[in-house]
């Protein structure tokens, strides 16, 4: 069962254990905690080449990059009980390990275990946060994740029952109906993690209730893991199922966009927009081989800018934030970072979100046909209306006094650096995906 980057997973789990073992002294020293987590994430990235197979070291690099940004945010993580900072860091590292397993697992059981690790740690990461809503959101997410886990396991059972093996069936293998049913059930389970309509409910509430740092990490990690898993699984079921996924993606994109248009609260807006992005990703996945590269490109670009947005929001408090309050709550630098992030998510060139959209629609035009593509493009450009809604208010913070401060903004800077890199040399990432 080659394909799993053992070293990376071991580094992350060891990091989690270390953080827990030193929980006492680390509770007060926030930056030491972040540094320790960073060490293990960087070690995991360095070890990614060993054992990495399908999904490649690229997915591991991206996951580790998301972890790095989120770990830089742990000092400003809003917890109900501040002593639980080490637990949160450990859960974060384990969520990263789970994502790696989900994305690169050598067989379907490994991928299932990975997804379960990811979804359990996501729910826990969020429930440790401050505020009234987290328990409710985490429980909803958990129940729905459990339902999708049962779908995964039932699907796994059907695949095993039909083929006698839990390896990924080779593409083009003879399809009995029960095998197809198994693959469909499993992909539906992974689609939950992607937050595809009509399986998006739990993820939606989790994204909007969690503290920004936790929500951003959960969002970026689960999307990445789900995309890579689906890219590996869905094409096996054949072109007609690819089309079904593509259409579900279109539905999701339209749904998320419609719901986001009227939102006047930043976190809920981002949650709905995450649904819309899941739709675009599924459209790419449904476009087959050409779309797969676009989907990976999209999810990495999206993850980078989503991390930027959530890093900018981190520390703004657990309550709902209306657009008008944003500048005052965030201050100069975070407002600017939020502007850039929102513009990228809206698909304003030359930011990465725009490149991602360009990469996407060529393959959907070929595979899904003109009408879905035109509808998808319409949803994509309509997103500009809601993403850019708060931006004039944010720009008006340019009046606010403020100097560039590195302390406390490390997460913003790291995510900003990633965004900048993708802005200037998008082709480099593409070359990594598609050598």
């Amino acid at each position: 069962m080659a394909g799993l980057p053992y070293v990376s997973i071991a580094c992350l789990v060891a990091g989690a254990l270390l953080v827990l073992a030193l929980a006492g002294p680390l509770t007060q020293r926030r930056w030491a905690l972040a540094g320790m987590g960073l060490l293990s994430a960087i070690a995991a990235a360095a070890g990614a080449r060993i054992g990495a197979g399908l999904g490649g070291p690229l997915a591991v690099y991206a996951i580790c990059a998301f972890l790095v940004v989120t770990l830089l945010l742990t000092p400003s993580l809003e917890l109900q009980y501040a002593q639980q900072r080490p637990e949160s860091a450990a859960l974060l590292l384990l969520a990263g390990a789970g994502t790696i397993i989900m994305a690169t697992g050598g067989d379907l059981l490994q991928m299932t275990i990975g997804m379960e690790t990811l979804s359990l740690s996501s729910a826990l990461l969020v429930v440790l946060g401050r505020g009234e809503a987290v328990a409710e959101a985490a429980f909803k997410y958990f129940v729905l994740a459990a339902v999708s886990l049962t779908a995964l396991i039932y699907g796994l059972g059907l695949i095993y029952f039909s083929t006698g093996s839990i390896g990924l069936p080779p593409p083009g293998s003879a399809m009995s109906l029960s095998l197809l049913a198994g693959i469909v059930l499993m992909s539906a389970g992974f689609a939950f993690e992607l937050a595809l309509v009509p399986l998006h409910w739990g993820a939606l509430d989790l994204y909007s209730a969690g503290s920004p740092a936790a929500a951003g990490a959960v969002m970026a990690l689960s999307k990445l893991g789900a995309v890579v898993a689906l890219i590996r699984l869905v094409p096996i079921a054949g072109s007609s199922y690819l089309f079904v996924i593509g259409m579900l993606g279109l539905l999701t994109a339209i749904w998320g966009t419609l719901a986001a248009l009227g939102q006047r609260e930043i976190r809920r807006l981002l949650a709905y927009s995450a649904i819309a992005h899941a739709g675009f990703l599924a459209m790419a996945i449904g476009s087959g081989a050409a779309g797969a590269s676009a989907a990976v490109f999209y999810v990495i670009a999206y993850g980078a800018t989503a991390m930027l947005v959530f890093a900018a929001l981190a520390g703004a408090g657990p309550d709902a934030i209306s657009f008008a309050e944003l500048p005052a709550k965030l201050g100069l630098q975070r407002s600017l970072a939020l502007c850039i992030g929102l513009m990228s998510l809206a698909g304003i060139p030359p930011l990465p979100g725009f490149w991602a959209k360009l990469a996407l629609f060529g393959s959907t035009w070929q595979a899904l046909g003109p009408v879905p593509t035109i509808l998808g493009v319409a949803a994509a450009v309509a997103a500009a209306v809601y993403y850019l809604y708060p931006v004039p208010d944010l720009w008006s913070t340019l009046r606010l006094p403020g100097k560039l401060r590195l302390h406390g903004n490390a997460g913003v800077l790291a995510a900003g650096a990633a965004t900048l890199l993708l802005t200037i040399v998008p082709g480099y990432l593409w070359a990594l995906i598609r050598p």
Partner: protein, 100 residues
């Protein structure tokens, strides 16, 4: 081997019954119990596959799934207790801080 057919049908019905239970129940703990039924349905198919294929792997997988189910139940009950901490008895539809 009509037994295979019977067991396969049973697993499908169990899966749907469990799902119906998750939909009907309003008590978080009861919801979790119904999820356990759904997990059992999946495990049953694995064991059945092991018998049909004459292959031990299915049973080994079923054992691993039992571990997953245990982890799931522990976390789920913990989260349910957090919900119960404030309200009694808990209706899962009642807390609606996140919506819209």
């Amino acid at each position: 081997m009509t037994a295979n057919i019977v067991v396969l049908a049973t697993s499908a019905i169990l899966f749907s019954t469990g799902a119906t239970g998750v939909m009907l129940r309003r008590n978080p703990v009861a919801m979790l119990m119904c999820i356990e039924i759904m997990l059992n349905a999946g495990n049953l198919v694995l064991v059945l596959g092991s018998r049909a294929r004459g292959n031990d792997a299915g049973q080994a997988i079923a054992l691993i799934v039992l571990v997953i189910a245990a982890a799931e139940a522990v976390v789920g009950l913990g989260l349910a207790l957090v919900l119960f901490h404030r309200r009694e008895p808990v209706d899962v539809d009642e807390p609606r801080a996140v919506q819209g």
